[in-house]
C-alpha cells in the first residue's frame, strides 16, 4: 500500500435499495463476487411506501426498480435481505442493532451517511459510497487512512426533558457543521454513560452532520444487555471489556460540554449547525440566504412560530423509546387544527412493540397518521411530500434547503418537541407541555 493508506478488514456490510442497488449492479457487471455473503445484509428502507398494505410499488416515480433490482441482485449474490414486508424490515441503522448484526469491536460500513449511528455499540461504523461498498463486499476490506481522533465529553447530567438529540445539536451548533472533519469521535462523560442504547444511537447518528467520519461510545453493561439474545449476536457474548480508551489516552482534539446547561434544541436555518435552544432567538449574524429560505428574521424568537406539519421518524429518532416519550406528551391530547402529523416507526419490530403497548392508538387518537416502517419523509424522493410551503417540525437529522421537498422549511428537534409542537400548532418547549 502506498501513501497514508492501509487495508482495513470490514466485518459487516449493510446495503439498502437506494445506493446498494448501484453497488450490486456494478459488481455483477464486472463479474465480481462477494467474498463472504454471510457477512453482508440488505434491507428495503429508503423509498418503500409507508402506507398500510404496501407492495413493491413506490410513490416515487420509478422507485420500484430499485426494489426489484436489489432483491434480484441480493438473491444472485447470496446476501441476506430484509424485504419490504419482512417482519425484520426497518431502517438500516435501526434493524442492524435489533438483530445483533452490529457488535462491539466490529467494523461495519454501509453506503449511507448515517451508518455512524451504530457506533453507539462500540463498533467502528461509518458511511461510504457505492463504489466503496462494492470494494468492501468483493475484497472484505477498505483502503483508508487512519482518521484523527476526537473526544467529546459531556460533563454532568442532562436536565429533565433534555435528550441526546439536544446534546448532538448543541455540539454541532457550538462547533459548526465542519467541526468534526476528519475525526472519529468518542462520546464520553457522565451524561453519555447515563444514556440508554437508543439515545446513544441518536447521539452517534448525527456525527456525520458534524463532518466526522463516525462517532463511538465505549461498550458497557447496557450495551451487553441490549445485545444479549439478538439473532446474529454470539451466545454467550464474548468479553469486550477491553474496548475502552486507555486511561491517559491522547486525542487529536478534545471538546467538553456542560450537559446541565443544554436546552431542548431546534434548528432555525438550513444547516444542523443553525440550531438554538428553544428559549433563544435567530442569531443577529444569521446568513441572509438561510433566512430567506426559512422565512425568518434576525433576532426573531423561535418559540411560538406556527407549523404546518409534524414528523416523527428516521434513523435519528424513531425507536421505541422515542415513540414512548412522544406518546407520553400526546396522550389524551389532539394535534392542533391544520397540522399534518405523522409517525413512521424506525422498524417493523418497533412498530409491533409500540402497538403492543398501545402507543399507536395514542398517536392516532391525537391525530397522527401511524405508518409502516421506512425512511419516509426524512427526505423527498419525488413521491409523497408535505404540502407546498409547509413549515415542518421533524425528528430527523437534516434541515437542508429542499431536503423534505422543494421549498419545505424543516426544523429538526427531539421527538418530544415535535409532539409538543404538533399539539400547540407552534414550535414550543416540550417541558411546558407535561
Amino acid at each position: 500500500m502506498s501513501g497514508d493508506n492501509a487495508l482495513i478488514a470490514i466485518d459487516r456490510v449493510f446495503l439498502h435499495e437506494r445506493t446498494g442497488a448501484a453497488a450490486l449492479k456494478s459488481m455483477a457487471a464486472a463479474g465480481r463476487q462477494v467474498i463472504d455473503p454471510a457477512r453482508v445484509f440488505a434491507v428495503m428502507d429508503h423509498i418503500v411506501d409507508t402506507r398500510p398494505g404496501r407492495t413493491d410499488a413506490t410513490l416515487m416515480p420509478g422507485g420500484q426498480a430499485f426494489i426489484t433490482e436489489t432483491r434480484a441482485a441480493c438473491r444472485a449474490a447470496g446476501i441476506t435481505l430484509f424485504d419490504v414486508n419482512d417482519r425484520d424490515q426497518g431502517i438500516t441503522h435501526v434493524i442492524s442493532p435489533e438483530l445483533g448484526i452490529v457488535l462491539p469491536g466490529l467494523t461495519l460500513v454501509a453506503p449511507d451517511s448515517h451508518t455512524c449511528t451504530q457506533g453507539a455499540f462500540g463498533a467502528f461504523a461509518w458511511g461510504i459510497g457505492s463504489s466503496e461498498a462494492e470494494h468492501a463486499m468483493v475484497t472484505g476490506t477498505l483502503r483508508m487512512a487512519r482518521p484523527k481522533t476526537m473526544r467529546v465529553t459531556f460533563l454532568g447530567a442532562l436536565g429533565a426533558g433534555v435528550t441526546a438529540k439536544d446534546m448532538i445539536l448543541t455540539l454541532i451548533a457550538t462547533h459548526g457543521a465542519g467541526g468534526g472533519a476528519g475525526h472519529v469521535i468518542e462520546f464520553a462523560g457522565e451524561a453519555v454513560c447515563a444514556l440508554d442504547m437508543e439515545a446513544r444511537m441518536t447521539l452517534c447518528n448525527m456525527a456525520t452532520e458534524f463532518a466526522a467520519v463516525s462517532g463511538i461510545v465505549a461498550p458497557d453493561a447496557l450495551t451487553l444487555d441490549y445485545l444479549k439474545g439478538r439473532r446474529y449476536a454470539p451466545n454467550p457474548l464474548p468479553d469486550w471489556s477491553d474496548l475502552v480508551s486507555d486511561d491517559g489516552a491522547v486525542f487529536d482534539t478534545e471538546i467538553s460540554i456542560d450537559a446541565s446547561l443544554i436546552e431542548p434544541m431546534v434548528s432555525w436555518g438550513t444547516s444542523p449547525a443553525q440550531s438554538i435552544g428553544i428559549g433563544g432567538c435567530v442569531p443577529h449574524d444569521a446568513p441572509q440566504r438561510a433566512l430567506d429560505y426559512i422565512g425568518f428574521s434576525r433576532g426573531q424568537v423561535i418559540a411560538g412560530v406556527p407549523i404546518n406539519a409534524a414528523f416523527i421518524g428516521s434513523c435519528t429518532n424513531a425507536r421505541l423509546a422515542d415513540l414512548r416519550r412522544a406518546a407520553a406528551l400526546l396522550k389524551g391530547r389532539r394535534v392542533a387544527t391544520g397540522v399534518h402529523a405523522l409517525v413512521v416507526p424506525g422498524s417493523s419490530a418497533v412498530k409491533r412493540a409500540a402497538e403492543a403497548e398501545g402507543l399507536d392508538r395514542i398517536f392516532t387518537q391525537a391525530g397522527f397518521e401511524w405508518r409502516e416502517s421506512g425512511c419516509s419523509l426524512c427526505f423527498f424522493a419525488g413521491g409523497e411530500g408535505f404540502a407546498p410551503g409547509s413549515r415542518v417540525i421533524s425528528s430527523t437529522n437534516r434541515n437542508f434547503e429542499g431536503r423534505q421537498g422543494p421549498g419545505i422549511r424543516t426544523h429538526i428537534a427531539s421527538p418530544e418537541m415535535v409532539a409538543a409542537s404538533a399539539i400547540a400548532g407552534v414550535i414550543c418547549d416540550p417541558r411546558g407541555q407535561r
Partner: protein
Amino acid sequence: MTPFATLTSIVAPLLRDNVDTDTIIPSREMKSTGRDGLADGLFAPWRYLQERTPNPAFVLNQPAYGGAQILAAGANFGCGSSREHAVWALAEYGIRTVIAESFAPIFANNCIRNGVLPVVLGKDAIAALGGCEATIDLAAQTISSSGKSSGFHIDAEAKTMLLEGLDAIDLTLKHANAIATFHAHDRAARPWVYL
C-alpha cells in the same frame, strides 16, 4: 476510469459553505439504479426555475461558465447523504475538479473513485481563482492562474489512482492472499465475526 492528467478550465465560483449532496443531486433526480443519466439533475434546485427553465442567476447557467470543468466552493462541500450520485452527476456534467476549503469525508472518497479531483485551498485563494482560468497539474500538485502557482496536498495513493485511472478493487485484489490469511487467523481470534 479516465486518468486525470492536467486540466485547464475556467473556475466556476459557487462560494457557499455546506453545499450538501441533496442539493448537488436531489433524491428525486436519482431515477435509475445505475450511475448514468444524472447530469440533468445536477444542482437542480438552484439550476432551474419552474419546469426546468434555467435559472440565469445560477453560476453554471451563465455563459462564461458554460464549459467549466472546475468548480470552486466554500467549506464542508458535499456534506450530507453519502450518495455517490452527487459525484457521478458532477462528472457526467463535466466537472473534473472541485476546489473547496474542506470536503465532507464520504464525498471526497467518492471523488477519488470516480476520477474527480478534490482540492483543498484556503478561502482567499479560492476567492482569487473564481472566474479565472486555471491549470491544474496533478503530478506536480499545483494550480496555476494569472501567472501565480500554488501547491495543494493530496494523499499519495489517491494521486496515483487519479493519475493512472486505477480501479481500487483491482489494486486490492492483488492482496487477495494476504486477505485470506488474515481471515483465517481472525476467524480463530474473533469467531463471532464470521457468521
